[in-house]
Structure formats: structure tokens, C-alpha cells
Amino acid sequence: MDKELQEIIKKLLAEKKVDWAIGYEKAYDELSTRPAFVQDANDTARLIFNKYCINNLGLYLTKFKKNKLAVVCKGCDIATVFELIKEKQFSRENVVVIGVACEGVLDKKTGKQLEKCENCRVKQPKGADFTVGTGKDSAAPKNFLDVVEFEKKSSKEKAEFWNRQFEKCIRCYACRNVCPVCYCPDCFANRTMPEYLNKNVDAEENKLFHMIRMQHVFGRCTDCKACDTACPVNIPLTLLTKKLAKDAKELFNYESGADMDVLPPLSTYNEADSESDIL
């Protein structure tokens, strides 16, 4: 599989179809991989794909806007690429998507398979320009059992839960910076006029950051878990991103990155939208 992947990229680079190829390479130990940037057709031998390839490489597309790129994507990462194209961050012609069949990836911190991989319906990538390998999609759809379970808590319990989480937060912004849709040139968290967020790091201020970030990525977040796995202190951000996915689906029947022709839910409206909760 690695060989096939390397050959495709080698050809793309050699034929100057792309300026850069972004894939994975081995990192510091057997359990870790990191993003690899390849410019030279003779430098593709280091590219690999395995169950430790956890990063969503769609992240880098917004950072290399001016180049033609080939990017290695797991089925789930392709949604990110499409979402970004929808948000006009680059054009489809400038990116070659190399889909890799994936049997699920492991969190390097826990060694456990990510929860999202259990009911994955894109183990066989869809919408890619090239596909390497074959994967068997899960028959069961994505479920929101953990979110539903969490929703049953009282608001006090929820607040206490998050308070404990955000006490841990060190505001390193790894969650934001690995997020493919957090591409704003100047994040609200950096602003001083007005100062939406104080530099002071405490549970309340940290929570404010996460609340606003979650609101900003609503309807755009593909629930790729990049933020969740990046967090150095294991804050279960998946509980939030999954909630966003659930709400987008339930409130607006929207799935990020799924349909190129549908605008994100907050960018449009329907005259028949529900208003059951409005006084």
C-alpha cells in the first residue's frame, strides 16, 4: 500500500502536476507518525500510511493556498477538504486528493482506536482523485450515544464537568491550530479591540474560549477529532464537536463536507424553519 501511494505521488511530482505532496512519515517511535511534506519526486520513499496516521492533513491546505497540492486523506479527512472548498479557501483544481483506505486510527496517547472509527462509513474514501487500498465501510451509521448520555445530565452537572475540564486547559491553542476550519487570519482570541477573551488563564476564561470556538465552527466542523487528539491534557473535546455534528444534523439536516451544493446552516435559512422555542 505504501508503495502504491509513493508511486502515485512520485508521478504527480515528476509530472509537475503538483508543487507539494503532503503525506505521513514515521515520527519518533513505532506508534507515532507526522505530516511529511514532499517536493522532490525522489523523496517519496519516506511516505507511509498506517493506523497511527492520526493527523487530518486537510489542515495544511489553507496554509499552502498558492500552491498546487496533493494531499493524502483518509475517508474522513476528505469531508474537510470539501468543506474548505465550499468556504472558498482554495479551489478544487488546486488540490489532488489521494484517498487512502483506512481501518481506523489509534490515538498515540492512549493507544486506543478513535471512537469515530467504529462506525466509519468512509473507510473506503469517497470523492478522491486517486484511491489506494480498499476498505470495508461500517454498516451502522454514526451514533451519538455518548452525547445523548451527556445531554441527560443536569445543567449543573454539565457545568461542573466542563469546569473540571477547563481547569486543566493551558490555552496552548493546539485544538484551534490543528483545526482545519480554524483558519481565520486573526483569531478572536488574539483580539484586543474589543478584547473578546482575556489572556488570563483560568477555568472561566478557558471555557469562554472553547464556547466561542465551538460556536464558530458550528456547521463547518467535520468532527474529525483533530482537536480532541491534539489536546495535551486530554480534554474530551469530542463531546463538543460531536454535539455540533448532532445539532447540525438534527436542527438543519446538515452534514459538514457532505454536499458541495448546500450552504453551511448558518449561511442560509428556510422560511419554514422551526421556531417552536421562540416566545
Binding site: 479557501q89 481565520c184 486573526d186 474589543p194
Partner: protein
């Protein structure tokens, strides 16, 4: 640091009867930046305003808070006060301590006073972050574009031209006149349609201010009010300007294979044709899809017979770009295609015709020269059944609206028929008679009483062909009886619907349309001819079905609106609008997608030296300051002047803080 003055109004006892105004003023004095705080009986009175002006001068104030009534009441008053004192008028904020405090919290004076203090403090916070705003001016191209050469477009063009402004009238057919030119007579006066229309058409062609572009279509629009840039495609007519309109070419053209759309496809049309005899301009065009020369390369008879050598087969489509300050859209309507009605024979029974076909049959310039005969066998008719509400008021056909003119034209057609053929008998199946209009009800009554037209309230369930007759089966719901009428001809009252392609056309201007495709007016009551796009107006049936008088009135209204724009030297733009900080814009187009006024333009721009990015820009003369873009922008690149993020956030912070130092 800001130098703020706070002025607390008693409003007689309206406020001071409940709120301890001196405490409010005292609290204001304790706030940082507040240099002076006073209370006064009537802040809005002349002495009250003078107090403010004096304080501005004495204390060198640069921002003002007036704690008084609703800003909806007196914000303008105090803006003017500031202007008189030499301050920027947008440096005033009002704290509404009357409508929102004293009048509604009279049950607890202590709490009311505290709330008044808080609201005042919030306004102080806000005004501290106010910015100097100045009105902007934008240039205006004083030329109007009128799209559609029907009666609406004609009227709008004439009215604008009469005011002395230049107009370009674009019509996609080879002649102006539109639907009205197809009609025989008009209700409720029964005067001849052509007799009242053609003088206006001629007036258009003779008006020096009007440039007429027929056989032309608008293909691309950019820009905004005052500065629209429009691409117009002038289709090749194959006849040049040397044509004197003698019509020899049309007479001699051997090709009559096509049917005339203008005549409801009841008669033939030559390959070189004018729409109708009184066409303006009276210049024929060649339909290249049917012309023998263009199909086979042989014929050229028209070229040979033309006395002025006006036929030019080499003509090409031409694309021109013109600038306009305002646009009137009057693209008209199509009639509902009744082939979806199974009970009326799916449009396949020859002698079941549409109302427009009837107009052409009875028109003396029509295909039968005014003889009402059956399309199937050209025989004259005796019994005629009219069926109303075809593609109107019909939920099953997704046309639940009333087309407004069908009741009237059906009565008219039945009367005209009787006038021409006194022996005929007409029957009208109807749901309700809608004859709201000057002399309209009287008109329908005349049809029944003086012309003996039989009105049957009910729907037709089936039309059969029996022998050479049509058997019309229906119910008369008033008598409860089943009715069966043997008819020679059935005329359907087809409803009105938007032109085919109306949706695509509306996208040229980013206009919105309703679920049927009729263009949306800005406000259904108070802005019926404006659209959400500044400088674009709608007239006639492209907005909704209406009759000729309403259409003409609407057209004149659009002309008045256009003239009101052109009458100004420059366009004044309210400064309370959105603005984009392109350095922080991520180019995601969210604002572009949500703006109700298409006031956002996406551009590739050099935002930093050497850094070209796809970013949003607000068209200042188009933005109306709703702020939807600000609420939607997650990059926080758009902000709204007068209601900026800084201002609102400071209000939020102040509102949630306990009252300090009191």
C-alpha cells in the same frame, strides 16, 4: 481620554416622578471620563438643548449621553444638537429611562432608579467607544435601464425620459408592445388595445432621451446603485438600419413553415417577420433557425427584393457594455400552460384554446382577421364555454394565487363574442367572481344582464370530444345540478405566471423571488416597487399578476423612484453601515452569502504588501446597516458602525456588572 457629558431628563414628571434623576446624575459624575452630569426638566426643549450646547463648550466635551426617552423618539433631535455645537452628530447615545424605566417600573422607585443608573452607565460605556462618522457621497450615472418593452417598460421609460433623463429600453422580441399588443380590446371600457398602446410605442421611438434596443437581452450585471455596469447582447437581426419597413421581404418570403408565437401559434409566420403590423421599430428580423438560406445556403429572396439593400446575412450578435444609475425591471409574464390539466384534454383538444389564443382569434389583425372560428375545422362557433381559474387558485397545480385579471377578461371576451356574433351563447364556469376595481363589478354585471352570458359557479370535471362537438361536463354548485354543455369552442382563462427564465434573470441582479418566481418587492406595503437591491425597481406582472391600470401606475412609480435618485447631484450614504477589515477577513464568503442586499463584493486584493487574498468588501452605497454579516462573520472581520462589536461588548459588560461606587 473621552470627555463625556451626561444629561438626565425629568420629562416633566414622566421620569422624575419615578426615577431619582439627581441620583442618576450623581452616579454619572462618578464614572470615569464623565466631566459633567446634570439633570433638567425637559432636555429636548430649546433651553434643554442649549444646556447641552453650553456644557459642550464649557467643558470641552466630545461625547454626550442623554438619559431621557426612547432614541426612536429623539435621537435625531440630539444628533442635530451636537451638530449645532460643532460635534460629530454620531457622538451621542441615549439611555431610555422613560419608556424602558419610569413608565414600566413605577411599582418600585428604588429598583427603577437603579435600572436608570445602569442604562445610563451602559450608554456611557457605549459612547466611549463611539467613532466619528461622516456621511458619504457616491456618484450617480444619470441613465436608466428599463428591461422589458411591455406597457410597464414603455410607461417607465416615457416617464423617466419626460423628466429629462436618458433611458435605454431593452426588449428581447423584435418589437416593443409586449402582452398588451396581443390583446384585442381592454376591460372595462372595451377600447381597442392597439389604439391606446401604439401611440405610446411610437412616442418611445420618437423620444430623443430613449434609446431602444429590441431583439436584445441583458446578460450580465455588476455594480450597484448609481454605478451599474450592464452587458447587453444585441442579437443579429440580419436586417440593418437602412430598412424602411416596407415589408416586401416579408410578403415575398416563401418560408411559412413556422407558427407565430405572437398569434398563439394559430397562424403561420414567415422566416423573416415583424411581430405585428404596428411593430416598433418596424424592422423585420430573420429567424436563423428556420430561414431557408441559413439552413441550406440557398434562397436569398429577401435580399433580392429589398429596395434598400437592408438585408445583411453577415450580421453578428453584438455585446455592448453600458453604465446605468438605476434599473427598472418589467419583464412581464407568461400564461399558465394548461397541458397539465387532464380534465381539459391535456392541451391536445384543438378546440380547447387559451385566453390569449382567443384574443388573437377575435383580433382583426390576428390570424383569422377577427373571425372566431374553430381551430380544428375553421367553422364558426355557436356555443362557447369559458372556464376560469386555470392555473390560478389551484393548490394541486402549485398555483394557489389569484391571477387577478381572468374574471375580467373572461367577461370581456364573452361580451366581444356576442358583439361579433349575436347568435352565440357563452357559458362561464367560475369559482368566485373577483371584480374589484373601478367599474369592474358593473362590467361583469353587464356581461350577465345585457349580454346574456350564463355564469355557472363550479368546476368543469371533463371535456369530451363527441362528433365535432365538445361535451363539457361540470357542476353548478349553486343549483346543485350536474351540467353538460355541448360546445363548439372552449376558452380557458389561463392564469399568469412568471416568465420562463425569471429565476435565472433575477440572479443577474441578485434579486429575490417568491416560490413561484415572481420578483420580491422590498416591502409588501411600504416599498412595493423597490427591491432588496438598491437602485433596482420592479414594475408590472413580473412582480405579481395585475391588470393594465395597476401596471401603468406601478411603472410610473418606478419612474418617480428613479428620478428621485437622479435628481441628486451625489448620493448620500448613511454612515451606519458595515465595513470589512480585510486584514482579518478569511474570504469564506459567509457575509456574501447572507447579505440581504448583495452589498458585499468578493475581491482578490493585496491586503498586505505582497499578499493577495480573496476578501470581502462592503459596497457603501448599497449597505443598509442591518448587520447580518457581522452576526455571521466568524473571523470577526466585519463590523457595523454605530453598533460595533466594541460598543455592544462594552454594553454587555456594563450591563452584567453590579452598580459600583453608588
Amino acid at each position: 481620554m473621552a470627555r463625556i457629558g451626561v444629561f438626565v431628563c425629568h420629562c416633566g414628571t414622566n421620569i422624575s416622578g419615578v426615577v431619582d434623576v439627581s441620583r442618576v446624575a450623581k452616579y454619572a459624575e462618578s464614572l470615569p471620563g464623565v466631566k459633567v452630569a446634570v439633570d433638567y426638566k425637559f432636555m429636548c426643549s430649546d433651553p434643554g438643548q442649549n444646556t447641552i450646547i453650553d456644557a459642550i463648550k464649557t467643558h470641552n466635551l466630545d461625547r454626550i449621553v442623554v438619559s431621557a426617552c426612547s432614541p426612536r423618539m429623539h435621537e435625531l433631535t440630539f444628533r442635530n444638537t451636537l451638530e449645532r455645537a460643532g460635534l460629530n452628530p454620531y457622538m451621542v447615545e441615549m439611555a431610555n429611562i422613560r419608556e424602558h424605566v419610569s413608565w414600566v417600573h413605577s411599582d418600585n422607585k428604588e429598583l427603577a432608579t437603579e435600572k436608570a443608573m445602569k442604562l445610563m452607565e451602559m450608554s456611557v460605556s457605549k459612547v466611549r467607544r463611539s467613532e466619528v462618522l461622516t456621511k458619504m457621497f457616491a456618484p450617480i450615472e444619470k441613465r436608466a435601464l428599463v428591461i422589458g418593452g411591455g406597457i410597464a417598460g414603455i410607461q417607465a421609460a416615457l416617464d423617466i425620459a419626460a423628466a429629462g433623463y436618458k433611458v435605454v429600453l431593452v426588449e428581447k422580441e423584435s418589437s416593443i408592445g409586449g402582452r398588451m399588443a396581443q390583446l384585442d380590446k381592454t376591460f372595462p371600457t372595451l377600447d381597442c388595445s392597439a389604439c391606446i398602446l401604439t401611440p405610446k410605442m411610437v412616442a418611445v421611438s420618437q423620444d430623443k432621451n430613449i434609446t431602444l434596443l429590441t431583439y436584445a437581452e441583458v446578460t450580465e450585471v455588476s455594480g450597484f446603485i448609481g454605478q451599474f455596469e450592464v452587458k447587453i447582447k444585441k442579437k443579429a437581426k440580419s436586417v440593418n438600419s437602412k430598412c424602411i419597413g416596407c415589408g416586401v421581404c416579408v410578403t415575398k418570403c416563401p418560408n411559412k413553415k413556422s407558427l407565430s408565437d405572437f398569434d398563439g401559434r394559430l397562424g403561420p409566420r414567415k422566416a423573416i417577420y415583424t411581430l405585428f403590423p404596428q411593430a416598433v421599430p418596424n424592422v423585420p428580423v430573420i429567424d436563423r433557425e428556420t430561414c431557408t438560406f441559413f439552413l441550406t445556403g440557398k434562397c436569398k429572396i429577401c435580399e433580392k427584393v429589398c429596395p434598400t439593400s437592408a438585408v445583411d446575412y453577415t450580421q453578428q450578435d453584438e455585446l455592448i457594455t453600458e453604465k446605468f444609475g438605476a434599473v427598472v425591471v418589467a419583464t412581464g409574464f407568461d400564461i399558465y400552460d394548461h397541458s397539465s390539466y387532464g380534465e381539459y384534454g391535456y392541451g391536445e383538444i384543438k378546440d380547447v384554446i387559451s385566453s390569449l389564443q382567443f384574443e388573437r382569434l377575435i383580433s382583426s389583425s390576428g390570424p383569422t382577421e377577427g373571425h372566431v372560428v374553430r381551430p380544428s375545422d375553421q367553422k364558426e362557433v355557436k356555443n362557447v364555454v369559458f372556464i376560469q381559474c386555470v392555473g390560478s387558485r389551484d393548490e394541486s397545480k402549485k398555483r394557489p394565487y389569484c391571477s387577478r385579471v381572468c374574471c375580467m377578461y373572461t367577461a370581456k371576451q364573452a361580451m366581444l363574442l356576442k358583439d361579433h356574433y349575436p347568435e352565440t351563447q357563452s357559458y362561464v364556469f367560475y369559482i368566485d367572481i373577483r371584480a374589484a376595481g373601478k367599474n369592474y363589478e358593473e362590467f361583469v354585471q353587464r356581461a350577465q344582464n345585457d349580454y346574456g352570458v350564463v355564469y355557472l359557479r363550479g368546476r368543469v370535471s371533463k371535456i369530451y370530444e363527441r362528433g365535432n362537438k365538445l361535451l363539457v361536463k361540470g357542476a353548478d354548485t349553486l343549483s346543485g345540478a350536474q351540467v353538460e354543455i355541448e360546445a363548439d369552442l372552449v376558452v380557458l382563462a389561463n392564469g399568469l405566471e412568471p416568465r420562463k427564465g425569471a429565476k435565472e434573470f433575477s440572479q443577474l441582479f441578485h434579486m429575490s423571488s417568491d416560490q413561484y418566481g415572481f420578483y420580491n418587492e422590498l416591502h409588501p406595503k411600504l416599498a412595493p416597487v423597490e427591491t432588496a437591491i438598491s437602485g433596482v425597481f420592479v414594475a408590472g406582472c413580473c412582480q405579481s399578476p395585475k391588470d393594465i391600470p395597476d401596471t401603468v401606475a406601478m411603472a410610473s412609480a418606478t419612474a418617480a423612484k428613479v428620478c428621485a435618485i437622479f435628481a441628486k447631484e451625489k448620493m448620500e450614504v448613511e454612515p451606519l453601515i458595515a465595513g470589512v477589515n480585510q486584514l482579518t477577513c478569511s474570504g469564506c464568503e459567509t457575509c456574501y452569502n447572507v447579505c440581504p442586499y448583495s452589498a458585499i463584493e468578493m475581491k482578490d486584493k493585496e491586503v498586505k504588501r505582497g499578499e493577495v487574498r480573496h476578501v470581502a468588501e462592503v459596497l457603501e452605497s448599497v449597505c443598509k446597516g442591518c448587520g447580518v454579516c457581522v452576526g455571521a462573520c466568524y473571523s470577526k472581520a466585519v463590523d457595523l458602525k454605530g453598533f460595533s462589536e466594541r460598543q455592544i461588548l462594552s454594553q454587555v459588560e456594563t450591563a452584567t456588572m453590579p452598580i459600583t461606587n453608588s
